[in-house]
Symmetry: C2
Subunit: 313 residues, 2 copies
DNA sequence: GTCAATTACGTTCTCCGTAAGGATG
DNA sequence: CATCCTTACGGAGAACGTAATTGAC
């Protein structure tokens, strides 16, 4: 029991149905007239009915042929539409990429990349989730995101990861703070400082905890969710904070100073993370490549733009 | 520029998409695993995108594969529905036949044939036009009828015709008419009779005119459309009429007598007529065959049932 | 070491084109 | 006799199956 129909035979049928002439229809289909003849016969055999009434002079549709003409037109239309649709996706004229990224990246590095991508492929919908590191991975796990840009967190083992860059930590303090005059800060310099923390769920906090293991900082007891709040607290003289460079745009205030840490390993790695097994869609693949190309430059190059003191806007 | 897709490759794709296992999907499709593998590769090439992510251990759909899965399911569904539809017509589970027949045939011989046909093929719609001969042919010409059952009329040349039977003429007169006692009537016997005619557009009239060429009948001047009217006029003693046997059921009245004509050529042929070029639909073909089988018997056999005198009902 | 997909290769078979056949007007 | 669809036939290429290869667990 084999019902096998090819698009070619449907096209052949439609050509003959229009031309009503084997020879003409055959050359429209780029084949010899004899081959065309047997192809029509095969099709009639597959359908189970004579589709054309032909003598040596005239070619006419039978009643079943007329029926099949409607059928064939619809099928060919559907098939070509479907394949046009597919090739739209493949050609990245359509499609979707979803990125989950840390808020700092979502606000800072990514927008330019997304803009570039959208200009290259205007038809593709780019979805952006700004979420903390754990949630980024959760989105990836659920399939809601194709790519995650985040810092190392829990359970990265199940994913494919690649380090994009290292985001160096800065000390942020008020202009009148004791450390404000230094060009570089060592971890040891922080002992005795009141430290304003971010919530434990943030990757920044997790890194800071690791970095400061063994350093006797004072705990201000303040633990907030948003960096803007941290900035406000520092401005109010309630303490200092340790944040990655990518978040510094939140601290560009007249009376605040940000100073790079001296040790090169006082950094937060930024990773691009993908699902291990699942291949990316062509759209997502393109995005992933662009991100790697652009962000592998930005962040290491970030130290070339030291941004030590924040000019008043 | 060749986009050629076969239903087999779509089925292969769907099988693999379900099984997620080349070997299993291959044997479901009744082919070797290697052939199956290259078939999937060909399909991916045709689509222009990788559809499956596979290593030696796992087979998964890519993002494009998921898209294509929807597409393929729809296409296969459409194609199979379309072909099921066609095979319904071919198997005469569906279809349509339209018959145009003379009123006498439509009332007398055909109903039994139509009933038999409908019992054999309940799904087929049978359409019946009862019309005079010229109109029967007009319906055929317009394509509103597939088959016509009629007597020879104008312009049969453009059609395929076949004589089914000969409908012998009878004289119908009142019981008290001078000819009522005869067993057979010769054309010459009619000279001097008042003849009640049917309208000139009827095939009966046209035949009667030919038969009586050279016979000195009186023309009653009466020309009516319906046989029932003719019967009424004869009952009223206004004349006699010459009608074919198939119409005699209209004259079964107590005081009327119908007598066969003696000459064997005093007949009206009944033809089955079809369009010349156009092949019949399968449904119409079956009907045509059944009509020929049944009606080739009925009418010639009609002389075996002489029906000379009409019993009172 | 085993399972599973890909690749290699020889065979088979389908499909195509050339050419002859046959029907029609 | 010219046109045009069908059939015949031989060759080219595609598809298939067996078997070897590669890769993952």
């Amino acid at each position: 029991m084999k019902l096998n129909i090819s698009t070619r035979s449907l096209h052949a049928f439609l050509a003959l149905q229009e031309c009503k002439h084997f020879t003409h229809a055959a050359e429209r289909c780029c084949m010899s007239q004899s081959a065309f003849s047997v192809m029509i016969q095969k099709l009639e055999q597959a359908v189970g009915a004579k589709l054309f009434e032909r003598d040596t002079r005239n070619v006419t549709l039978t009643a079943e042929g007329e029926l099949f003409a409607d059928v064939a037109r619809n099928l060919v239309g559907d098939i070509e539409a479907a394949f046009a649709d597919m090739s739209d996706y493949v050609a990245r004229r359509r499609g979707r990429v979803a990125i989950a990224a840390l808020p700092s990246l979502a606000a800072h590095g990514l927008p330019a990349v997304i803009a570039e991508y959208k200009q290259a492929y205007p038809g593709i919908t780019v979805q952006l989730f700004d979420a903390l590191s754990d949630q980024c991975l959760a989105l990836l796990r659920q399939g809601k995101a194709d790519i995650a840009l985040t810092a190392p967190g829990a359970s990265l083992g199940e994913f494919d990861t690649k380090t994009l860059c290292s985001d160096p930590f800065y000390l942020v303090c008020r202009q009148d703070h004791a450390l404000a005059g230094k060009k570089r800060i060592r971890l040891a310099d922080l002992s005795g400082c009141e430290l304003i923390h971010l919530a434990r769920s943030t990757s920044v906090r997790q890194h800071v905890e690791l970095l400061l293991r063994g350093i006797a900082v004072k705990n201000s007891g303040l633990e907030v969710e948003h960096l803007a709040t941290v900035a406000g607290l520092i401005e109010a003289g309630l303490g200092v904070s340790l944040v990655p460079e990518l978040t510094l745009f939140q601290f560009r205030k007249m009376n605040l100073v940000s100073i790079p840490m001296e040790a090169l390993d006082v950094v937060r790695p930024i990773l691009i993370v993908k699902k291990k097994e699942r291949a990316l869609s062509i759209a997502a693949q393109g995005m992933s490549e662009l991100i790697e190309k652009r962000l592998l430059k930005i962040a290491p190059a970030s130290s070339s733009r030291p941004l030590r003191r924040n000019p008043a806007r």
